[in-house]
Symmetry: C7
Subunit: 94 residues, 7 copies
């Protein structure tokens, strides 16, 4: 079973956030959207999205920072994924 | 009796969500839109929608993940359907 | 006396919703827009609406599903109608 | 003294709503915008409105149904009028 | 000292509203924007405003009806003015 | 040290509002945005802003009226400035 | 490890705000977005963003003023960064 994203959507698999693994402490929410690290597992074809041409810039295997609140959690065969639009991806970690 | 969707709308028949059938437990809402699995039962013609050309990418029989809050529940002759815009479909499950 | 809709508006005459006539029970609201069945009684000319060309796809006599919250109720000579934009019509029932 | 509407605005003189005059009873608000009947008393020139060409479709003397919440009440020399945009007029009554 | 409006803005000097001067009574607010009468004292040059060509239709000396909530009150050398966009002017009184 | 505004932004240095210096009394807020007088101290280059060509109309030294709520207060080396978009400037005082 | 911003995004490293270091006092919030000083550490490629051409105007090493509420905080290997869109950068400090 495989998830194939439509349009400008990207499927992510969440990584454990750095600030938690290193310090063991999750900083309390500062009334702000929480950034998240994730690995790209599937990338939609892009193309005309809502009347605008979108070119996909990320690729499978990229580690990215995304805005968590924009994504949709999906659970397929006991695995959890996040589906976001590419515009919700802020940066690639190299 | 048959439902023929207009424009970029797609008619879905909901599948039982994976996380419920396998564990028997529905995870409580995490203050987020709930993703849903469904089968496509009818696809609108697409075309110019709100001044933008929309090409239909899903087809009858596709299993898809969609954003539940965007859809409209319809009950026709004791059967329940969901009518969504194609842009509310996040991914196809293969 | 006759109602002639302007632009992309459609005048509907509500049908009794299936789930009520068959079961005699109205399901309580699930915090969602209620779909509605109705018959088309008049169709606007379409044309340039808010800077976009709208072609009318429904015709008088069609049975349709529409999003109730988008419509405006009108009572003319003891008869009740609903005026909606064509984009609030989700599907045609055949 | 005469009111000359600008742009796509239309000046209306409200008629007594049908459901009130015939039954003598005003139905309580159903958490919805109240439709209204009115006579067109002046029509703006139309033209480029917010970057879009608007052609005026109603004319002085038309009886129309409009969305009340969109209008602005004006009182000039003891007479009350409503100023709406043409797009707030739903239908013409013939 | 002189106020020169930018873009599609118009400077108004408020007139005493008709309904107050004739009856001596101000009708209580009906949960609606209050229309206002005013005299035009300065008119901006118009031109490209937010990517759209705006042609100024009112002129100095016009008596106009405007939507009060859209305006900004200004006090210059003990005189009070209201600065509105031309699109907030509903009609000219002749 | 010098602040160079980007795009269609303008840096202002607030003047003491007329109504306060002359009367010594600040009128209480009337549930409205407060207009403000300020001097222009720097002007951005304009150009394509959010897909639209913006031509800068104000110049350094102009005294202007602006909508306070749209601006951002900045304190650089003990001096306070306000950064606004040119579209938040309502009028020039001559 | 390196953060590479996508589209019109810019990665910032916050500087200590002037008003705090000089006076030792942080002025209480005035119900307004707080401006912030930061150094640019990475700049996205720009290009077509949401259907509009965006040209990047800031460069690595620039000291800038930005609107804090628009940014997303990121913590990578114990270092904190802010990711903003270029349009959230108000001015460059020279």
């Amino acid at each position: 079973m495989k998830l194939v994203p439509l349009g400008d959507r990207v499927i992510l698999k969440q990584l454990i956030a750095e600030e938690t693994t290193k310090s063991g402490i999750v900083l309390p929410g500062q009334n702000k959207e929480k950034p998240q690290q994730a690995e790209v597992v599937a990338v939609g074809p892009g193309g005309m999205i809502d009347g605008k041409e979108v070119k996909m810039e990320v690729k499978v295997g990229d580690n990215v920072i995304y805005s968590k609140y924009a994504g949709t959690d999906v659970k397929i065969e006991e695995e959890e994924f996040i589906i976001v639009k590419q515009s919700d991806i802020l940066a690639v970690i190299q």
